[in-house]
Structures are given as C-alpha cells and as structure tokens.
C-alpha cells in the first residue's frame, strides 16, 4: 500500500468524494476561535519547493500547522540544490531526518512520482505541482469550490458533480491545473470543455476525457462554471498568439461575456490573476468570482488530504495502483 498523492487521475470517485466531505468538516475548524487539531501531533512534514510558489506553500503550511504537524520549509534557492545536489541526495537527507511526509513542488514533470517510487524515501509524497503535469490538490479545491457553490454546502455532502458543465479557458498547454481538473472533474461526473487558442492546446488532447473548443462565446451559455487559467509567460518559449490584446479579445472574460453565462454560473481562477488580460477587474471583483474562496478552500482540502494520508496507520485514499489496474 502506497501513501502518496501524485496525480488527480489516481483518485477514484469514492476517494475524491471522501476528500471533499472531509474538507467540509475541516472548513468548520477555520470558523473556530482555536483553529487547531491535535491529529498529526509528532509527525514531521517537509515542504520541498524547488519552484517558487508562495500561495501553495503557505496554504500547505497553514494546513499542516492546523493539524499540529511539525513543519520544515525547504526552498531550493540558496540551498544545497543550487550547489548541485540531486533530488536523490535531498531525499536521502530527509529520510535520515525521519520525515513522515514530503510536499513537493518541482519544475520537472514526474519529479514527485520519481520521489515516491524510487525507494529513496519512505515518507508519503504529496504533489504540490510538477512542471506541466499535475497539481492534484488544486483540482480538489476547485471541485470543492464548485460543489459548494453549485450543489450547496450541506446538500453537497456525499455528492459528486454529475451533469455539471465546466469550461476551462486559456493556456491549457502549460497548465497542470487544467490537466488535473480534467481528470478529477471527469471522475466526479462533470462534463469538461477546454477552450483555448489552437496553439495552446496540447498534443494528444483527443485522448483526454473532455471536449475541446476554440470558441469561448459558444460555450458560455451552457457552462455552470468557467475556469480561467493564467497565461504562463514564464513557460512560453515561442509566440503562441499574436498579441495580448488579441488573446484578451478572444479568450478574456469581461463583463459582457459574464452576462451571457447562466445566472447560477461561477467564475473561477487558480490565481495569480493577470487582470486586464485573461480576466477584467469587473469580473474578478464580482460576487460570482470565487478566487478568494478558492484560497480558503485550499487550506481545508489540504488538511483533508494530510489527515487521510497521514492520520492513521495506513492511508484512506490513493491506494497504490499497478499499471494493469489503471
């Protein structure tokens, strides 16, 4: 039995619903005067961040501290990694320190999988974003936000997202958020449509369990949630669209487009937002935009994942699956 969360595709529907339900209870802890549970007392968790990410790191750190775990933050900048140490050496150092879990963010797709399966380390591995591959806790918090807004906080318990139509817009090519969301939302029964310029659609997308469209306007009217992605300039090594204005005109979400969405539909964004390009300030600041909620929900989801992977003597989710079982 493994105890890792590497990919949103590893979760079964029951696993995912259990995490969402557990997160709903964790969210109640945030409403209390003392936001702390003794559940992971005496466990050591390392946040191993090879790539910059303030938002995800502090979200994990808040979740770990609320569960009373001992937290070690490791950033590659200024560490022995910049002196040339390999992932294996870092892992073995952590193993020697008796670490119970590693939350890893890495620029290379597959680094968390390697860490979890190579035998370098015995700890649970949680993927906090690897290259353009996966970001499972982001997908979970997005699904949690959708379930709360579209199904209801209490009514949603035990429910999935069957029949909901989700549109994911923007830089799909570079987005681990899009990949993770397509996997998880499909598992939860939602219909996903990706909308992007043809140059920002990855090769092999036809094998993903989703639709692809190049026209945002035609999908808006039938969407229950529209998720805008950040255009990842730092990963772009070529010109994928003519100008920012052109991108914004065709794929940006403004007030007019939002007005064409169904009344109950919500606007999501994993952050950080580039206002004026993928989303206008008017949309970003509206009641239908869930960006701030997503941040709060992120802590609840990460608490749930940490509890379910580390709270007992064996994990309650993400059982090891051999390739034949997948």
């Amino acid at each position: 039995m493994q105890r890792h969360l590497i990919s949103a595709a590893d979760l079964t529907r029951d696993d995912a619903v259990l995490i969402l339900d557990t997160a709903e209870e964790m969210a109640r802890v945030a409403d209390r005067p003392i936001k702390k549970l003794p559940t992971l007392r005496g466990r050591t968790i390392v946040n191993l961040f090879f790539e910059d990410s303030t938002r995800t790191r502090i979200s994990f750190e808040a979740a770990e501290k609320r569960l009373s775990a001992d937290v070690i933050n490791f950033t590659a900048k200024g560490s022995s990694v910049s002196k040339g140490e390999s992932l294996k050496d870092t892992a073995q150092t952590l193993e020697a320190m008796g670490v119970d879990a590693v939350v890893i963010r890495h620029g290379a797709s597959g680094a968390p999988y390697r860490l979890a399966t190579s035998g370098w380390i015995d700890a649970a591995v949680i993927n906090a974003g690897d290259g353009t591959h996966q970001h499972p806790t982001q997908a979970l918090l997005d699904a949690f936000t959708m379930r709360r807004r579209l199904v209801g906080r209490d009514a949603g318990l035990g429910q999935d997202l069957s029949g909901r139509r989700i549109t994911i817009v923007g830089d799909v090519l570079h987005s681990r958020v899009a990949r993770s969301n397509v996997d998880l939302l499909h598992t939860l029964g939602a219909e996903v449509t990706l909308v992007a310029p043809p140059t920002l659609v990855p090769v092999g997308v036809e094998t993903w369990p989703c639709e692809v469209s190049y026209d945002l306007d035609s999908t808006l009217a039938k969407s229950d949630a529209v998720m805008m992605l950040r255009v990842q300039r730092e990963r772009m090594n070529a010109a994928f669209f003519p100008t920012e204005r052109e991108y914004s005109r065709r794929y940006g979400l403004d007030g007019d487009r939002m007005a064409r969405m169904p009344e109950h539909a919500i606007v999501m964004h994993p952050g950080p937002m580039v206002r004026g390009m993928e989303i206008t300030a008017e949309v970003a600041d509206s009641d239908r935009c869930t960006v701030v909620e997503q941040v709060a929900n992120g802590v609840s989801i990460r608490m749930a994942v940490l509890y379910l992977l580390l709270g007992g003597n064996e994990p309650a989710v993400a059982h090891a699956r051999t390739p034949e079982e997948k």
């Binding site: 209870e25 109640r28 209390r32 549970l37 509890y307 007992g312 003597n313 064996e314």
Partner: protein
C-alpha cells in the same frame, strides 16, 4: 465509539447469540429519568447544552433535548461533537471518515455542557471529547450522560447520568440500536468472536 460500535463487529456476531438487555420502552423510560435527573442537578436546566457524540449519541441527545423541553417548557440547545481527530488511537487504524461537529449558535462558553453517548467503555472517547471541547470554548461545567455503562474503564472517567449499568466481560460486546439509524430501539449483549480482534 469504542469496540462496542456495531460497525466494527462482524455481521454474524451481531445476530446469533446476542440477547436484548434493554428494549424500546426501557430506553424511553431511562431517557425520561435522565432528563429529570439533569433538571434536578442543574436546577432547571437554564444553561444546559446537550452535545451528542456521533453517531448514536447524537440521536440520544436529540431525544433527551425533546424530553427536557417537555419538562422545562424551554428549548434546549443540542449539537454534536465529533471526536475522531482527537482520538489517541488514530495511528492504530486507517483514518475514519469524519462525522459532523455542530455547536449550537450561542456556543458553549459559560454553559453546562452535557455530553451524551450510547456506551461508556474505556473512557477514551470521553477523554477525546473533553479535549475537543477545550478547543471549542470554555463551559461552566461538563457532565456525561450515557445509555449504558459497561465498565472496564482505562481512564479515571465516570458518568453523571447512566441509563443502565451493565457489568460485562471483555469477551462480550454491547450493541446499541436506535430507531433513527437502525430501525429499532434495543441494547444487545453478545459474545465476542475471538477471530475478530
């Protein structure tokens, strides 16, 4: 919530040799008695808050609240307190799904909190509940009401209100069934299968 929890018993151990020690009318009677005892000790139950421990403790707390309301003519706040995250045996089992913690709107600060559970056994559930309460507020006092006290305490914990004292052997199981969850009200005493634990 301990080994008396029927969810942890194999199906066959629940049926074959289990015999009822309390039936529906008995359970109603002991709850009425406990309600009167609470009113007597709390001198009117003005500041009483009932907190049930999931799953069956919550139903018992709701029934007690209804009886208290009848006696005192006042609405008694009732909630539930999940103690899973506070258990001291978390690392000995896979993590459980969490149940609902619902604290009445006015909170528990300065109130007399009566914890309600179905079976009092080792006392570890109640220890966890006291820890959980500590994180939620500061009650004036905490009391404990249980339907069945089966003994075998591992901690210095004692119930204030007991429906029935049931001296048992560790080779026996106590199973509480309530209409809300199981379709009927009964307390069953059975023999534990050695293979199960």
């Amino acid at each position: 919530m301990d080994t008396h929890d029927p969810q942890h018993l194999p199906q066959d151990a629940q049926s074959s040799d289990a015999r009822p020690v309390l039936e529906g009318p008995d359970i109603a009677r002991v709850l009425t008695r406990i309600a009167h005892e609470i009113v007597e000790r709390a001198k009117g139950a003005d500041d009483v808050v009932l907190l049930g421990i999931p799953t069956r403790g919550v139903f018992l707390a709701q029934r007690l609240a209804a009886k208290l309301a009848e006696i005192t003519d006042r609405k008694i706040p009732v909630g539930s307190l999940d103690i899973t995250m506070y258990r001291d045996d978390l690392r000995m089992h896979p993590p459980r799904a969490l149940a609902r913690t619902e604290i009445p709107g006015d909170g528990i600060d300065g109130r007399l909190v009566v914890l309600v559970d179905d079976v009092l056994f080792s006392g570890r559930t109640i220890r966890a509940a006291l820890d959980a309460l500590n994180d939620i507020g500061r009650p004036r006092a905490v009391q404990l009401a249980v339907l069945v006290d089966r003994g075998h305490r591992e901690l210095p914990i004692r119930a204030d209100y007991v429906g029935k004292n049931l001296p048992t052997s560790l080779r026996e199981t106590v199973k509480v069934q309530l209409a809300e969850e199981d379709g009927r009200d009964t307390v069953l005493l059975g023999a534990k299968r050695t293979a199960q634990q």
